[in-house]
Homo-oligomer: 140 residues x 4
């Protein structure tokens, strides 16, 4: 079955840019996280689900390839799929397009681990969360 893709459009803010008059490279990781947050919202879910269980979702890896610059006021669209679901981690793959020109701007991924906030140790992904992610997952 083809996995579902979550899409989220947003505008480049002035504060996202730097003196090269394009989006600063570090801000794409904020975009990735924003898309992840909106994805959870779309699933009827948020980080607080973890917080209440004494868990969190620390990132263990983050990567981005920059294809084209994005400028202030550009209308972008983020796409998220679940690249990989493992016992204790999830890998999200992101694409950022310029929505008006349909050009790929940046592409990357983030690996997050479900962890116990007190011990710092990785724990199993809660079943409730897992079930929500599955329809968006490429490889199960």
């Amino acid at each position: 079955m083809t996995p579902k893709t979550f899409k989220f459009p947003f505008r480049v803010a002035w504060v996202d840019t730097d003196a090269a008059q394009v989006v600063h490279f570090s801000n794409y990781f904020k975009f990735f996280e924003k898309i992840e947050e909106e994805f959870y919202r779309h699933l009827g879910f948020n980080f607080n689900y973890f917080v209440e269980r004494g868990m969190w979702l620390p990132r263990v890896e983050a990567f981005c390839q920059y294809k084209k610059p994005a400028k202030f006021n550009d209308l972008l669209e983020g796409e998220l799929i679940v690249e990989e679901l493992r016992e204790k981690s999830v890998k999200y793959h992101f694409k950022i397009f310029n929505k008006e020109t349909a050009t790929l701007i940046a592409e990357g991924y983030v690996v997050a681990v479900t962890a116990d906030k007190n011990t710092g140790r990785a724990v199993q992904i809660p079943k409730y969360f897992l079930e929500k992610l599955k329809p968006y997952c490429k490889r199960l």
Copy 2:
């Protein structure tokens, strides 16, 4: 007695700039906070003193006047004085100079309250902290 002034030099980073090729206005508040942190370090003190006592230092007011733009790589110097010490709050006044041209770039203040982290209520400034601040204070 003339109050002491705490000075801290720093460079404008690329990420501090925006598409106007100057430091984004919101970043001056980060500079103010950085100067405050270095001031505490200079006093042999840090925020963790508060954290350990279940306290924190929430900001209740922040203000900045922008005089001249600052650019990437500019060497700036922050100056801090304690503008006002009240029973439960402290007002820091900041000036940011271009260190090479001795030009005033920005000037402003931050009012912080000593508060109980659990109740959220303002509490008296701990005497230990108060004594450290006094030599830098304009009005006691």
Copy 3:
């Protein structure tokens, strides 16, 4: 005539928070700017109008009062009115509410000047821009 108020709802992102588990005080200035950008968008207008004319809108003053903390995932709503329109500057007044509890979170203002990008000097607000702002203006 009662001035119009521009309203813009948004969510607190994880990256907006700090170790006190509330929105970092400097981020309210980013919120103010985001609201201003969405206001321009609502008016069918953006900063590029200025860029194309060799102009920009540097900030000369910024102020914020913090009333209540905002947390990750809170649904906030920004309100903008034009507090004052002068020959070469505009003062925006902002209120940020928690949209779910209707509590005032923060309130402040930003004064921006219409300036020539090359000379750095203040210039008259373009009539086109002025007309768009008037319906939102408290004092003309």
Copy 4:
């Protein structure tokens, strides 16, 4: 010949942290950039060398692995080596240590291209810059 390593110590600022009370993952990319800027400063060089030649150094790839969390006020130390020097690009490899415990906190890289600001095309690394980088380079 063993390549030289550039080292730069710095403190975690309050604004670097998020509600998990650790440094936000996106900020490591700001740290990488800060280390790169200080490296250039150490070499007697800065981005303005490029700006004056109508060039810039856009990032084409960025990666980070997160090993241990870093907290507010931690004293970190960044290490930079030149992982790879190609005709038109340079790959910097970074390690971030907790300087007090000598623990590896994060590790990653950034690939930057020397490009013409107007055409957006990659151009040869200027010889002057290349010579400065060589002593820090693992593979020539």
